[in-house]
Symmetry: C2
Subunit: 438 residues, 2 copies
Amino acid sequence: MGIKIGILGLGTVGAGTVQLLLDNVGRHPLLKEVEICRVGVKSLDKPRTVELPVGIITTDLEAIVTDPQIDIIVELIGGIDRARELILKAIANGKHVVTANKAVISRFGAEIFTAANQAGVYVMLEAAVGGGIPVIQPLKQSLSVNRINTVMGIVNGTTNYILTRMQTEGSSFDDVLADAQQLGYAEADPTADVEGWDAADKIAILASLAFGGRINRDEVFSEGIRQVSKTDISYADKLGFVIKLLAIAKRCSPVSPSSTPTLSVRVHPTFVPKTHPLASINGVYNAILVEGEPLGQVMFFGPGAGAGATASAVSSDILNLVAHLKSRQNSDTNSHLDPLLACSHQDYCQIAPVSELEARFYARFLTRDQSGVIGKLGTCFGKYGVSLESVVQTGFQGELAEIVVVTHDVQEGKFKQALDEIRTFEAIHSIPSLLRVI
Amino acid sequence: MGIKIGILGLGTVGAGTVQLLLDNVGRHPLLKEVEICRVGVKSLDKPRTVELPVGIITTDLEAIVTDPQIDIIVELIGGIDRARELILKAIANGKHVVTANKAVISRFGAEIFTAANQAGVYVMLEAAVGGGIPVIQPLKQSLSVNRINTVMGIVNGTTNYILTRMQTEGSSFDDVLADAQQLGYAEADPTADVEGWDAADKIAILASLAFGGRINRDEVFSEGIRQVSKTDISYADKLGFVIKLLAIAKRCSPVSPSSTPTLSVRVHPTFVPKTHPLASINGVYNAILVEGEPLGQVMFFGPGAGAGATASAVSSDILNLVAHLKSRQNSDTNSHLDPLLACSHQDYCQIAPVSELEARFYARFLTRDQSGVIGKLGTCFGKYGVSLESVVQTGFQGELAEIVVVTHDVQEGKFKQALDEIRTFEAIHSIPSLLRVI
């Protein structure tokens, strides 16, 4: 029996999610169990990038969240009040919920999760923070055996894009913002990003998961990047720092069995030492760093936004729910293993022989200083179809000249054949190094 | 009812795991359900860093894996034949298994998982790859909605440590290896690390999860780092590369619904462009990069080995199994939500006011060029207990001198009080920038 889902919203993320679910070859086999039942939109007339059978798309969102045959509601309409209302109604109707809506979860999480626990349903939110980076599930599960001391990260792509360009180009905030808006990296009204509100929503969610308590969103301090000047970025550089908008949640009180921790939770532009792992996260990328005992530091890095990344996160939540629902369906029978934890591989993958692979190579030759050695190397490589990126005579070792070759992508077998021939050349003393280039 | 576990092996990782499980305050509440029943060791006489009640430690490992009251066996003895035998016997006795043993899983995974599926038990292996980095679970779950094209990484800390030191110090392989052995970063017999066999075990496991098929360990190509010379490292540097031992698994065939993919799976020293995310992973750290459609690239970074990191990974597998077993125990009642997916936070965290937090600050002052301004600033900050790391006059803006101050960790409230007083100084024109330093 398939698992029936209803999707609210068919914007960029909604369309990306539908596309992923409809084109499931090469993905986790459980996704084949997913059946898109209804998709709710504002207007039926808008042109769509995905094709859905007639009758699936509707403007009646209430009818979707109350439809008795639907198991999972995927909320992708964004905004606050209407989204909250639909999520709560879905829960009241016994649906599991997947949402990418950080604003609703950070403000109304307490209400929503209380309702979900009472109704015995899950509310999943992998896409709410860090786009496609799997960070919510690790925080809920793998990492939670640690005592987390710090979660911090670059969780807003727009501001990181602006700061990165200010830094590399020496431009001013206003100029880069205007350009980012034209390129679609910043919204027409960029306030929520630029003032740090979006990052504050996200760190509230991360802190709640990392520290095992609810977070009052109003208490999250946030300071935006409007005040960051190119002068400061240039001084930061001279002092050995870069300026990043960091979202930070830290434990301030010692670990105690009896009380919830006291935290510092804040978003602000920050001087980050250039050697810090977060310093090199540039452009629209996000990264989240978690520090805990006994683990130490781990960092997650990836695309923080975009249709594909967010669809990946939304679909991973759907997959988790499908696994849960399927293992429940099977619980009368013997086979009640959760298919996500059990091994389902029966067949062996084909491994291609290394000689057939294309790769780039670096080779170092020691040659007797004869005229025309480089030409002979080039001719021989050419004979075997090995295309060279560079051939450089780099110096001497005693009486031998050292020549370094870097190839383009070549078939390893042909490259090795060429080398075998080259080894026979009078001018070639030896080939001390042969390494692959990524 | 508690979940009873038996641990095989009380070396570094075993002791770290016991320590974590016994000291569970501030960690996931489910860990309180774990009861360490038996711990199997080779010798009872060896001094131990963890204290366990009398009667828990035994040298009879068979008795542990066949003990009818034990739910989960945690295999941490390492090695191949004996570990395989005990894992299979545990499975035959209906136990779930947690293991950190990449050598056994990469060679006998097919046999072990077939047995586990038949017996209806799980074999969990988060600690087998990447130490404390949560990468196995994301590959099994979140990321598997993608069509994975590439998994690659730095998965052996010893060789990365050696290559990093060769690069920063210009030393030779033999010298760094000898030193690494003395410091405990390389084993007395470093063959498995240095020849790339350990990395080959790990990429075989990652490839199997990423591409959904079994991998024949014998077909994994591996080339070690013995041949990497300091000359090559220096040429790499000049050409814009660093040399890393990469483990790489790539899809070579198009995605098809009917067949398992053809892959390239290999380990070799590799020229990595300095701008590549893996180029900056240094020392004993590990990092794994996954590229898939529609996600794009994500990277996981963290400590690849060590007692704490590995204990974190082992315990996260135990946690997953406990959640599974507890939700099964409760399945007669209404409350059958998986506690790892549901929200269990009832209480609000305390958020400390920003003014009470300690932080480092950067402030930029525009001052009227009067003698002694820096002295006045210093005196005023001192009055409020604000300790300065540096005060530098950096230049002029028109007639105004620009002074940049970076503080040590100071209480934000006191720093702001000092600034309020400084603003009243005749010599101070303005404070255009005030930013936090991490």
